[in-house]
């Protein structure tokens, strides 16, 4: 098998704090995305998922120290110059931001912003043909009357339409990798489904590898093939969506699944994970999840669990072997309630 489209190995991001007080936002992240694959990255806010993606783009502030390896089509990105990264951003990796309300420049027309993305990477293209391609891109993301829409400003677009425009902008140079950072979080539920459908269509039709960063397991369940669960800067579980959902190998994943509403058990109470994710400055020793973990033992407080293969997926839990598969329609919440 050829090298994956995106290969992240042992990625760590440390922010220089005051004095020797460095903050490690991301640690030891391994993640592969194959061509045409949708890889979901799930975690609560502060789990390091966005920082990881920003590190891939080389868009972290200079105060961030990034180590490890990020390979795009086998080409190492960490340590590349800003100039070299500029040729990759927008051309080979497209980035979709969380809030389409703020991701578009209010003073430039939507068409201008899309054609800018093209012109930044194709120096020889004329303004006119860049504009024509911008209209084509708006059509690709199913914006009605794209010729007129291209001349409008972001404030004349609805939220869902703006997100489509942002996606069109990310797709402008037909990148092989698309990173979508919570693309549906800021949108209405019905619009969310439309945007997911659009991303899914782009993945299937254009064969782009898609990283979908989200805190919503439900979004991943329907669309992704692979999933990485992040907690406090580390990947705690990774595998195929079906495997992970059928038999989560990490107590955190089980907690997330238990907190999902289920249509076939409408009366079951949702079970929240007790406590809150720790701020990175106060990360607990050992497994960062141990203070909230029902299975925590002494070892969890001392030793950081490594991500290791167990069953069909990967888990970073000392007690992964003690976990049982979830029933086909039940989860631990209903067990606990029974």
């Amino acid at each position: 098998m050829s090298a994956p489209l995106l290969q992240i190995r042992d990625l760590a991001v440390t922010f220089a704090g005051q004095g020797r007080n460095h903050l490690q936002a991301v640690c030891g992240v391994d993640l592969d995305v194959e061509k045409g694959q949708l890889h979901g990255v799930v975690g609560e806010s502060g789990s390091g998922k966005s920082v990881t993606m920003m590190a891939v783009m080389g868009l972290l502030s200079p105060s961030a120290c990034v180590t490890g390896s990020v390979r795009l089509d086998g080409e190492e990105l960490i340590g590349k110059s800003e100039r070299a990264m500029r040729r990759i951003r927008g051309a080979r990796i497209g980035y979709i931001f969380q809030d389409p309300m703020t991701a578009l420049n209010p003073l430039l027309t939507v068409g201008e912003q899309i054609s800018e993305a093209i012109r930044l990477h194709e120096r020889k293209i004329t303004r006119r043909s860049a504009n024509e391609r911008a209209v084509d891109l708006l059509r690709l993301v199913a914006i009605p009357i794209p010729e007129r829409r291209a001349l409008q400003y972001p404030h004349e677009f609805s939220g869902g339409m703006r997100q489509r425009a942002v996606i069109a902008m990310a797709m402008a140079n037909e990148p092989s990798l698309l990173i979508a950072d919570e693309p549906t979080t800021a949108l209405d539920v019905t619009i969310q489904a439309q945007i997911m459908e659009l991303l899914e269509r782009l993945r299937a039709d254009k064969g782009v590898g898609l990283v979908l960063v989200t805190h919503d397991l439900g979004v991943v369940a329907g669309a992704a093939s692979a999933v990485s669960i992040m907690y406090s800067g580390r990947v705690v579980e990774q595998g195929h969506v079906d495997d992970v959902f059928a038999f989560p190998r990490h107590p955190y994943t089980r907690g997330l699944l238990a907190s999902l509403p289920q249509l076939d058990h409408p009366t079951a109470r949702l079970v929240a994970i007790p406590g809150a994710p720790p701020p990175i400055a106060m990360r607990p020793s050992g497994c960062a999840f141990h203070p909230r973990c029902p299975l925590a033992i002494e070892r969890c407080r001392i030793e950081v669990p490594a991500l290791r293969a167990i069953g069909a997926s990967m888990s970073a839990c000392h007690r992964a072997e003690d976990l049982r598969p979830l029933g086909p329609t039940t989860n631990e919440a209903t067990h606990a309630g029974a």
Partner: protein, 342 residues
């Protein structure tokens, strides 16, 4: 938008009427008798001369009567006759306003160019050496008094180095160009007088720089603050994610947005300088509105004082309108004249 501009233009005379009324009342409630400056202190003891002068200048009539007469004359463009120059105030203003406008526009160009440049540099190198230098420069600009900085630059560049001419609007061996616009730099060009143009331009450099420095101070601070605000926005990150380089980010994406709040400052500075360039005009012997206002005030020259006040008020009203129009042109979200729907 045209309807909106028309509405604003119609409202303008009404606002000016308010300005005129206040100026009229204030100048008439000063305790000093303007007759002193008209006929001289010695003649004040001569009742016949005093009576004659009162009748001649209409000061024997009641205040409301004087006010109405003044307004009536104003409608025909008659601002009254200056007590001091014995010339129509309108004519005095017409000669002096272009001089001030020429100086202030030049100063605004200097202030805007340097202010924006320093602001952008300061924001780009936030809290680093260039930022601190820009801050220092801005601080000096807004806190060093013009009567001091004016004299210093005159001493250095004119007296010591001899690079630039001393005070005045045009070289002492040149004659003023024929009046077309009243802007010497333009009128000399119209007349095809290259030597005159160079001289007028050289004369403009020092006063415009000194006056522009004060503007540079405010503008650079304003640009810096709004640039920092804009650079933190997500669309800047989005532009970087598209592969845009630093210069493009700074000027194409950030500066445009940062200029919006700066427009207000620019408009305000311009209007303020029309009557606020007094010190600069005095030091550089610039025959503008500011120096005219000072001599009018010292000479209890009521018609001239009110005339200057009207010009100053009109400057603010017009600049505010221009600022609003500029906003609508730069920011597509601003729909000028559109009624807010609740």
């Amino acid at each position: 938008m045209l309807a909106y501009i028309a509405r604003r233009l119609i409202a303008m005379p009404l606002l000016l009427l308010g300005v005129i009324t206040v100026a009229f009342l204030l100048s008439h409630f000063t305790s000093a008798d303007p007759l002193t400056s008209i006929i001289g202190e010695r003649q004040m003891n001569n009742p016949a001369v005093v009576e004659a002068a009162r009748a001649r200048w209409g000061l024997d009539r009641s205040l409301p009567e004087q006010y109405l007469v003044y307004l009536k004359n104003l409608l025909t463009g008659d601002f009254g006759t200056s007590f001091r120059t014995r010339q129509p105030v309108a004519q005095d203003l017409l000669v002096r306003l272009p001089a001030t406008l020429e100086l202030v526009i030049a100063a605004m160009i200097v202030g805007t160019v340097f202010g924006v440049a320093l602001g952008v540099i300061a924001a780009r190198f936030q809290n680093r050496t260039p930022d601190n230098l820009a801050r220092l420069f801005a601080l000096f600009g807004s806190s060093v008094p013009v009567f001091w900085s004016g004299l210093v630059v005159l001493f250095i560049f004119s007296v010591q180095l001899g690079w630039l001419p001393g005070p005045g609007r045009i070289g002492s061996r040149m004659s003023a160009p024929e009046l077309v616009t009243g802007f010497y730099t333009i009128d000399t060009l119209v007349a095809g007088d290259w030597a005159g143009f160079r001289s007028a331009l050289a004369q403009l450099v020092l006063p415009a720089s000194v006056l522009g420095w004060t503007v540079t101070g405010i503008v650079s601070r304003m640009v810096r603050a709004s640039m920092l605000d804009v650079l933190g926005q997500e669309y800047i990150l989005a532009a970087r994610a598209k592969g845009a380089g630093q210069l493009r980010i700074l000027f194409h994406h950030a500066l445009r947005n940062a200029m919006l709040p700066t427009l207000t400052i620019l408009g305000f500075s311009f209007a303020y300088l029309i009557t606020g360039a007094i010190l600069t005009e005095t030091i550089f012997s610039w025959p503008g509105i500011g120096s005219y206002a000072v001599s009018a005030a010292r000479g209890l020259d009521h018609p001239a004082i009110i005339g200057v006040t009207i010009v100053g008020g009109a400057a603010f009203l017009i600049t505010n309108l221009l600022t609003d129009i500029a906003y609508a042109l730069v920011d597509p979200r601003v729909k000028i004249g559109a009624r807010a729907t609740a």
